[in-house]
Amino acid sequence: MSLEAISKIFKVTDKIDKIMLESKAFDIRSKEFQLKSLEETMEYSMVVLPKEDLNHSQKISFRDIDLRRLTIISSPGFVEAKESVSRIEEGLAKGFIIDPRKLDQNADEFLFRFEIQTAIEPYMKDLVRRDHQIDSTGDETNTYWLHAQLKEVRPFKDALRKMNLLDIPFIVNVGIYQDVKMKFPTRRQKELEIIAKWARELDRERKRRLDFEHISLKRIRHREKDITQLLRDLQALFKPEIFKSFVEVRDRFYYSYCFAGADFYDEIPFKTYPKWMSVLSRTDLSLERQASEGKLIYKRKSFQEAIEEAITRK
């Protein structure tokens, strides 16, 4: 599986290498490669030395490669050579042209950076084995281990000076259902049931009985928070900007986003409150750091306290 991604990557880099070598203007000294998940880009960089007097070099054209950007930095000085790079826009043909004659003739070396727009996930899937804890135990906190590791190292180490896989995404479904259920008082569940029955009841006598039952329940605890407000306040806890304070991502992973998780287990798709919160975290891998471990900590006790507060606070 990983071979497919490797050959796809090298197909692109070989194409760029070939164009550079055929230009006979530069010697390639070292190559670096990056896959950036967040930007959805593949970045291929090379340090090159000018081979001849650049004033006599031909223009170098990069077509049929889905380049988003081409940047050249000259060294020493680290100045971007903007004037030597131009974009091709000829009908459907797109790409970039480099004019070596416009490069700094006194530069010792150049860094060429090719940014290729592509879907990164298929590459990540092939190159990286991703695992995380599925079910967790623990009363005050639930910890989910996270782990990413490279399936292949050698082919990249042989060809590249550096390789970075950045912001590799992980989605973990954190079970929150037991805390919502545990902290929601039974008598308020009873109240919900009475209201639900009342709304559907067409028989006048039964409706009156339910009315009475509800009033009796309310009379005992007349200072209790209104149920509609309570349900609304509870709903707010599942908003990403609120829920993120109940999770912590540690070690070599970092928190990215969270959202109410879909629940396909339910036979009837009743979407009220989520049973799972999906937490997106990310990590990086490289040829020097071939595996990465982390922890996603769900602070159950704090979340339970927040539920309690949403239920009681007026």
Binding site: Q133, I134, I171, F264, Q290
Partner: protein, 335 residues
């Protein structure tokens, strides 16, 4: 310190694959010997050539590493007879038959364990109040989450059905999902196949048989992979799912749905798959035959439990949710 990083999970669901790695520098060794308990088996090995390792009884010997400094592994586990088990594994870096570095790990493997306690011969239902006595006792003695499915045996007297408002809800829901997915297929042409699979999953809820669960698992993996890489698409899907429910005229009775949310959660990490599964009751006793199935969070099926016939009668004609016939979780004085 020659060992730069090491990892082996501390706990996992039985049946889950366990990743592991060691990263080192300036470490001399001629082989890495891994001694593991019999409930762990090597599934994949990274940065090692095909003929660079040997499998022995409860041990793996790695003789060759492709690029020095990293060993990646994947171990498989299986569902065990014991509901919890602590397994050990040790990585030994060996030079001239002497162990120079020793890395011991242990993992706590757990699973759900659904057990049925008291099964009454006869149950009486007070339909109006929703009171049931006595109840069937169901417990999860394991540490893993269980999604529990309660089904009536086909061809027997009492059959599971959904209340009319749920039938109406589903009719409208299916229509809405159908048209929303058709719209999304036009916008996200590249995800057409995945959307077709999602439509099938949403409109035909999966059964608890191995084949359906496998299809479901494959779909979920593909679905998560696409959602991870395309946030726009992820948001469009979530919006569609939420809108299909919120725009449903039957959802006007929001309280009923919230109420069933709570009813679908049993204690002891048990989730009830269909709290809307009802059976009819009347003054005349009728026979109920139930089959209990469950899956864990890896979609692994637990052994199904068939209950003996139970006579159900009510103080008046009505219907009761099957899940209400059960006492979920151990009684307070039980261990």
């Amino acid at each position: 310190m020659p060992i730069k990083s090491k990892f082996f999970p501390g706990e996992a669901l039985q049946g889950q694959d366990l990743p592991s790695h060691v990263i080192w520098s300036d470490l001399k060794f001629d082989r890495i010997r891994i001694v593991h308990s019999k409930n762990l088996a090597l599934k994949e090995i990274y940065n090692v050539p095909c003929n660079g390792f040997a499998i022995e009884e409860n041990a793996i010997v790695v003789g060759e590493i492709e690029a020095d400094g990293y060993l990646g592994l994947l171990w498989s586990t299986k569902i065990l007879h014991e509901k919890v088990s602590d397994e050990s594994i040790e990585y030994q870096f060996v030079l001239n038959d002497k162990v120079s570095e020793k890395l011991p790990f242990s993992v706590h493997l757990f699973r759900p364990d659904i057990v049925i306690g008291d099964i009454p011969i006869e149950i009486v239902v007070k339909a109006a109040k929703g009171e049931v006595s006595p109840k069937i006792q169901i417990s999860n003695l394991g540490e893993g989450t269980a999604i529990v499915d309660l089904e009536t045996v086909p061809g027997t007297e009492l059959q599971k059905h959904h209340p009319q408002f749920i039938e109406d809800f589903l009719k409208e829901y299916y229509k809405e999902i159908g048209s929303s997915i058709a719209r999304l297929k036009k916008i996200y042409k590249e995800h057409g196949t995945l959307l077709a699979k999602l439509e099938k999953i949403l409109l035909e809820p999966f059964e608890f048989d191995k084949e359906s669960l496998k299809v479901y698992e494959e779909f979920i993996n593909e679905f998560i992979s696409v959602l991870t890489s395309n946030q726009d698409f992820a948001e469009a899907i979530i919006r569609m799912l939420v809108d299909a429910v919120l725009s449903n005229s039957e959802f006007a009775n929001f309280y009923r749905f919230v109420s069933e949310y709570f009813n679908s959660i049993g204690s002891e990490k048990m989730l009830i798959r269909d709290p809307f599964g009802f059976v009819s009751v009347s003054k005349k006793p009728a026979t109920l035959r139930l089959k209990i199935q469950c899956v864990d969070l890896l979609n692994q099926v637990c052994t199904p439990i068939a209950l003996p016939p139970i006579m159900i009668s009510g103080d008046e004609t009505g219907e009761i949710s099957i899940s209400r016939l059960f006492e979920w979780g151990r009684k307070k004085d039980e261990p």
